[in-house]
Chain length 337, copies 2
């Protein structure tokens, strides 16, 4: 069974194919009569334009590609949702690719997306390096890095200001009177982790608290890690009275370790997380945390990508403001334990 084409419509309407094309594309220089006639036939024949043919001709399929490690991770799901919202509003579709933190997968997907002639790329994947970006630029394939910064590249990225986020969290705890503040960081090979540490140190310094390196630990963004590190803190002669974790999952583990030992949050320890995933508000106690505006970040990424495409402009790195969400996992520092 052949699908109906623009030619079938033309024949049935008694006009030339190019006229049908003009009608479809909303060209104005056509008599109302012809427009009506063509439109009627289109409906009658149930004609659906072939976007591939159009794409081949115009070099525009109105499709973006998005690379993320894993859509099942709520953080990336939020980004993806923001991206899709903005793309859809502008008539674009997005092909989503899960790379599982594998460089190989990233490269395979990228190739696939190039073959498909996507008009732009949102890169929220993990392993991508500087030279891959150079490759993209050589091919003139517009991209935006999302929640991702690449060393040596000072443009076309959108992420939150992680330094500000770290500062915000730490400052909040300091203002509650805490002086012994632990920070459980993420893996050290990401900018996000390092910046959050910077913010943490900056706040300490700003408020005249000296940095104690035994209070800084390297975690893995998973609850298990938070659990072990907190247990370790609890063995200290002088454990921290407040903990800032580099993400919410770490805070989950911290909470577990504290409860297990019979202590209470926020009475005995104050906790601040990072991300504000759905989980955070449902923990007991509900977790005070630094919110990343995932939807906004994704949305903005597309807006900027479109600007790049339409006006050929490059953008400096953009940093969105993090926000402190105050819930019930922190309290004023209590002298007596």
């Amino acid at each position: 069974m052949k699908t109906t084409t623009i030619r079938d419509v033309a024949k049935a309407a008694g006009v030339h194919p190019s006229t049908v094309s003009r009608v479809i594309n909303g060209n104005t220089n056509i008599s109302q009569d012809t427009v009506n006639k063509v439109l009627t036939v289109i409906k009658e024949l149930n004609y659906v334009p072939n976007a591939l043919a159009r794409g081949l001709k115009t070099n525009k399929l109105h499709t973006f590609g998005m690379l993320i490690p894993d859509i099942a991770n709520p953080f990336f799901a939020g980004l993806a949702r923001g991206v899709e919202n903005a793309a859809n509003e502008h008539g674009y579709n997005v092909i989503l690719c899960n790379t599982d933190y594998s460089l190989e997968k990233e490269i395979t997907y990228l190739r696939l997306l190039e073959e498909r002639r996507v008009e732009g790329l949102i890169l929220a994947n993990a392993k991508f390096q500087y030279k891959s970006i150079i490759e993209l630029e050589k091919r003139r394939l517009p991209y935006m890095l999302l929640s991702r910064n690449i060393k040596g590249l000072q443009k076309n990225s959108i992420s939150i200001d992680n330094i500000a986020g770290g500062f915000l969290a730490t400052q909040y705890l300091i203002r509650l009177g805490h002086k012994k503040i632990g920070h459980i960081a993420g893996p050290y090979n990401t900018n996000a982790t390092m910046d959050r540490i910077k913010g943490y140190k900056k706040a300490l310094q700003y408020y005249g608290i000296s940095f104690d390196k035994q209070y800084l630990s390297r975690g893995d963004f998973k609850s298990r890690g938070g659990y072990h590190i907190m247990n370790n803190y609890l063995k200290f002669d002088d454990p921290p009275t407040a903990i800032f974790t580099a993400n919410d999952l770490l805070a989950v583990g911290v909470l577990e370790a504290i409860k297990e030992k019979g202590y209470n949050v926020p009475h005995d320890f104050s906790i601040v997380g990072f991300d504000d995933i759905q989980l955070a508000s449902h923990l007991s106690p509900p977790l005070t945390t630094i919110r990343q505006p995932m939807l906004d970040m994704g949305y903005l990424a597309i807006i900027k990508l479109l600007e790049r495409i339409e006006k050929q402009i490059s953008h400096e790195n953009i940093f969105l403001k993090p926000e402190l969400i105050e819930r019930k996992s922190c309290s004023k520092y209590q002298k007596v334990k």
Copy 2:
């Protein structure tokens, strides 16, 4: 700047374009010499085939469309992940569309996907009705309904066996000695809700417990709803001693209401949820729940879709087995309260 085409490669390699095409497509009837020559040139020129042109010619762009209400919902994210895994393994890409439970959006997206000539559709969206399916069949666009059944349609769907799920949850509570078992259901306009209720009733009947309709409540799949309904139960002269909720979020609200009144889970009340979202294992107490195998469901949907495409077969509705995940929100019925 023109992109390099198959013709450029041909010229540079001193062969005919059709020969290049044959090399790209792994045609065997070519001398090793020519293959090598062409491959070298392809690399030199950095040639990337145009999938649109190929798709136009072959009518196969190897792309699927997937309609879901909201990727930010962990349940759908799980499905999407499974779908993408399977699609990718078979050389397909997937265009993801968030419909926000809006029929209008569903229709708009569907049209877009048709124009793009996707080869198949995964429908996990909400509003779609029988007549839209008929429309798809008329257009010979293969589809699979995912976690979604449509009245009157006895084929091409994959979901879990919700009756079995409801039965499993209720049976578990009964075996713990509970006799007064409440069920907080979802919205009544979905098959999933109705089937879980059926399973609940079936278990009661099977174990000789008479159904008491005051113990069955209609919820909304949100924690707020669970909270209010549980508060209502607590006002009963004879409140249920165990609650089975139609999803995990409802259980979150139930837990809150119970704690607020100073009761303890699992000591005073036993709770079983449904879905097993990430949240479930991190609640306190960790929630016993019925797991839906999201990844498997998504994966299988693509496998079956491919079968339909390649072998033109229709499938009966497929029901996957739910699984009870035992955590710490249930205990044996205690006589004295």
